[in-house]
Symmetry: C2
Subunit: 249 residues, 2 copies
């Protein structure tokens, strides 16, 4: 039953005009906090945005994706060593947490908490969508949320009751593209062809190539959606964020 | 119902002598692959370790935590841009994915997939435990699994049917330590005292301080479990891994 609902889930970008109560959010956070985390240090935090003006200020940072303003709630999940380090400082302990490994541990914690929240939310009838734009504009979200040193926003989630009709399912690659036994079986042109065949032959993806005036589906990703230039620009931003927030010397 | 099981979950480090079938694993991977991911690029992969000799080779890399050899299955989840880039190269497309932002996106994808797998596994009666040691020894796991460029192991999960009795629940901080409204409310010595009081007064944590001959619980973390020296050493390892695997120039 649970597996069926997990299997039938899809990201939801359009929401019904119905609010999400604080008591429901708190229940979901309580459940999500049972997620695994590094050494039970809980190196994560979440900023809840409900205020309309705040959502509108954040909209351009999410590339004006509509769900960032239309969802009743936007949750920004952060890798957070600040609370732990402040606790230590108040307990005659000095945490050596201003480094990359702590950032990775905190990112793991933040993602486990975020994903746990999302499954709990879906079990209560909400729909969610992840916003990867958070890490692109981490510097600006830090200012917006007044995040202290050792806190870095990693991902945001929009949440609300889904508008009908539900969006269609998107395709996934066959498991053979993802699962390796004992060691990594690297790909050949032949295995790539076999694994991507169904995806490339989907009508929706054929249309996607046409609309973008490209020759292949891969080119839509590399030339339009995730360009080298953008990736490199936002990588520089993120590297500077890691330095400014104290996770990288 | 689902929320109850998510709320009552705990990490499981001791497993019954009962195998986990390939068909069950595949079912769980199929469900987990429905997790959200960056632009439907699925920038993740997983290496399944069942072979006893392989588990024993990996044991020291997981600091000889017993569950790494005693669990029937160990799953190592990787941030993976290799498959996507190879697909692009075979489709007249050049992916500019050798950068930090792609590593972050791929880490997000890997963590969402890993956590989805774990909830699916728990719904089918399995117990799981995360192994954060994976990122510490990422260089050695790369050799062990023969991971190509643009693949970095992020976290591992041990899985199996739980041995009875189930381990006790571990405590969590109050939500006020985690949830911020509209902007980040930083902590004061007073709020730290209030948020950590229950944790510090737990008998199990008082014992933990005594056993480690420390004065405060925080010192157990900073001086014994997550020392500055170790954090810095493993940060250097990870930085070099990001460079060697092509995610950082």
């Amino acid at each position: 039953m649970l597996l069926n609902s997990m299997k039938n889930r899809r990201s939801v970008r359009k929401y019904a005009d119905r609010s999400v109560s604080d008591s429901l959010l708190n229940e979901l956070f309580e459940v999500a906090a049972r997620a695994s985390n590094t050494g039970n240090m809980q190196l994560y935090s979440v900023v809840v945005t409900r205020d309309k003006a705040n959502k509108e200020k954040q909209a351009p940072l999410h590339f004006n994706q509509k769900m960032a303003t239309e969802a009743p709630v936007v949750l920004t999940f952060c890798a957070d060593a600040n609370r732990f380090v402040k606790w230590a400082a108040n307990r005659k302990a000095e945490a050596g947490f201003n480094n990359l490994q702590t950032f990775i541990a905190a990112t793991i914690d933040a993602m486990l908490f975020a994903q746990a929240f999302c499954y709990a939310a879906e079990a209560r009838g909400l729909g969610i969508c992840f916003l990867g734009t958070t890490a692109y504009n981490a510097d600006k979200f830090i200012k917006e949320f007044k995040l202290p040193r050792l806190v870095v926003p990693v991902v945001a989630v929009t949440a609300g009751y889904p508008a009908e009709p539900l969006p269609p399912h998107t395709e996934r690659l066959p498991l053979a593209a993802i699962v390796h036994k004992e060691e990594y079986a690297d790909f050949t042109p032949e295995s790539i062809n076999a694994l991507y065949k169904d995806k490339e032959e989907l009508e929706v993806n054929i249309q996607y190539v046409k609309e973008n005036n490209k020759e292949t589906l891969a080119q839509v990703f590399t030339d339009v959606r995730y360009t080298k230039q953008n990736n490199e620009y936002f990588s520089d931003v993120f590297l500077q964020v890691l330095k400014d927030q104290g996770f990288l010397q």
